[in-house]
Amino acid sequence: MSTPMVSMRGVEKHFGDLHVLRSIDLDVAPREVVVVIGPSGSGKSTLCRTINRLEPIDAGEIRVDGELLPVEGPQLAQLRADVGMVFQSFNLFGHLSVLDNVMLAPLKVRKVARATARDEAMALLERVGIADKADRVPAQLSGGQQQRAAIARSLAMHPKLMLFDEPTSALDPEMVNEVLEVMASLAADGMTMVVVTHEMGFARRAADRVVFMDAGSIVEEAPPAEFFDATRSERARSFLSNVLAH
């Protein structure tokens, strides 16, 4: 088997007295789409954020593409440049146009020529369907458009791995689908993805594997068909019956 894109071994994390991650072991293969679900407070967001070290861990080790996560510094910045991240609250840079948001990191981190960066940014905005908003600032866009811009901003760095931290949780219901469409097309193109979400439909449709977390531990992991139709653990069953009841 090839080197896993993400490899977590015995990962532990505390927030003060709260034990948020308990001996997490998880591998994500290249081109695999792993969807992480679980009740709020289960540690799934924290798990996602440890992979590019936005949250440092207390014990264990995390490798990205075979490389141990470096400590904070230029090397970590380099690794983060190769790992895209999409946030629940979009976090587009408020003072920059959508186009400049997408171009900033290629220009400053990759030192790409301005004309090249511009062409590529426009192509990405075209791909996520908001090329006509290129000159607007984020506040002028709807939530769904902002999140699609944020995805384009990550893609501009040609990441080998994309992390999605509840990308649709802050969106109005009618905007969820436009973001999920973009994510599903990325998955279909073979992007390696770790997706923390409450969208069970997306998990069923786009995931290669579903990971269910509760109270800081991975309770169950299985391909989506097996996870949803033949749930093994009692905790996952009661979680699913709560979220799928309506």
């Binding site: 790992v83 946030f87 003072h95 760095m157």
Partner: protein, 214 residues
Amino acid sequence: MSALIENLDPLLRALGTTVLILVVSAVGSLVLGVLVTVARVSPIPVLRGAAFAYVQVFVNIPLLALLLLFVFALPDAGLLMPLTTTVIVVLVVYEAAYVAEAVRSGINTVAAGQVEAARALGLRLSQTLRFVVVPQAVRAVVQPLGNVMIALLMNTALAATVGVVELTSAVNKVNLVAAQPIPIFTAAGLTYMALALAIGLAAGRIEKKVAIHR
């Protein structure tokens, strides 16, 4: 009115001193205040503590007490400076504490998510500050800094108490001879108002210039 016209020359010279103290102290306190803020938000605990202590000390001592201390204690300690210079030094260290507080509150208006997004894209800390944090913090900081500068202008009048002949001291002298307090002090008040208005307008223009156009 005649008292003002007869003494126009020394009054204008005193106004010049006021403006000189204002401009030099403004530049000095802005520079020092930004340095204190950088220390205040730096990852080094010693620097953070020192900057915190600096702000606490100077925000909690009356300016007049500080002026008297510097003017009478420094020569005793063997450091003799011209009076105007001493006043400028005191105003710089005093106002820098307020500048630091204003700038820090501006940085706090930039959401933590902005920094996280920049770091997640691979920007280094210095790039994150330069391209993401500072351009957004500036917008929130212009107006409060304008207010600090107006307060600085008013505080220059305290220089009169330690013998510097600036605007307040000069009009006081003219009044002692001419005994026309209403026109004399009204004129001085209007002059301060005009200067404060100029600072306020300048701050407003700068704020418009750096605003996000939407």
